[in-house]
Symmetry: C2
Subunit: 197 residues, 2 copies
């Protein structure tokens, strides 16, 4: 049985006429399928596919969540926070700890160093310095893991601006994000939106 998520009334109106009942980027994917295709392909490759990175999907979702939190994008931070939780065996406290302060969270030194790089990218790519890269290497990060971190943080500077720049609907109910998180952690990003199986 498939249950569609309930339709909430948005607290603010989006800047353009978007399909009703779909929150955040999903309303934009319904509105513009021609750009949704490469954007979904990108996020599937960056965050979900096990073969495309030596960072785990959980680590990659934490980088996306942390970047979205720094950009104060409620929809993306809540959604990817919930996906990260399910990728990390349900450890929601770890996700909250990382969002609050990565350096005091119970994560590897490598991920701490990579999240420092992500925070620099969120401000401006040129902020990333040789010392940041050296610290990540010393903690065990490979070139490819540094690359993936920079691109994930950069990509969420896009997704966050796309979602907020058009004032899309960010649901208030945490259960909505939890349901999306469970679905995406299991299915990835290429399946139909908002269906809880």
């Amino acid at each position: 049985m498939k249950i569609f998520l309930p339709i909430h009334k948005p607290s603010n109106m989006p800047h353009i006429a978007l399909p009703a009942g779909y929150p955040g980027i999903r309303s934009l994917f319904m509105y513009s399928p021609v750009t949704a295709a490469p954007l979904n392909h990108l996020v599937q490759t960056l965050l979900h596919d096990p073969a495309t990175s030596t960072l785990t999907p959980g680590e990659r979702e934490l980088i996306a969540t942390y970047t979205s939190s720094l950009n104060q994008c409620k929809y993306c931070a809540s959604t990817h926070g919930a996906i990260a939780k399910y990728q990390l065996s349900g450890d929601g406290k770890l996700v909250e700890d990382v969002v609050r302060d990565p350096q005091s969270a119970t994560i590897s030194d490598k991920l701490k160093a990579l999240l420092k790089i992500a925070a620099k990218v969120q401000q401006d790519g040129k902020q990333v310095g040789e010392t940041d890269i050296a610290a990540a290497r010393k903690a065990g990060a490979t070139d490819k893991e540094i690359h993936d971190t920079v691109l994930i943080a950069a990509a969420f500077c896009m997704f966050n601006r796309y979602v907020d720049g058009l004032a899309t609907w960010a649901p208030e109910d945490p259960a909505v994000y939890d349901a999306i998180g469970k679905q995406r952690a299991t299915e990835g990003y290429m399946t139909a939106p908002f269906v809880i199986k």
Copy 2:
């Protein structure tokens, strides 16, 4: 006859080991083909395909150039500035005028209003207000054109951070950008890099 662009010595070293002789994002596309595929697909759809937007490719390249200029990304601003020039029948002065001050450039009121929105998106998507949207609509912009503007500006906040966050090589020689500009304006983004026919 095909002539490959000359290989220049980078003035700074990239943060990770990238293929030599390829500038900017092209070195990243060679390094990571798995993410290059959706990124190239995205930029082709956003900027080049005539059927995907009622904004002309020249207008879309100006939005990309202006956003990249605000992010002070030399490689992207120079490359898309050159592509914009070729999309605008060779009018390089117009591109320079838009980068300097869109509101005094010889462009439509609609494009002026859309570039104001792009500048807000470059800072933070939440900066885009109802008055910005109303001004764009009054100048004749459709919902789809507002959508495309927000996504182009957001996407270049990603591309700029990807290029600068890994300290890729930005050539000094303007002729390199001019050659890339001519190629991309003609061929789009899906063909092999750096070949002047």
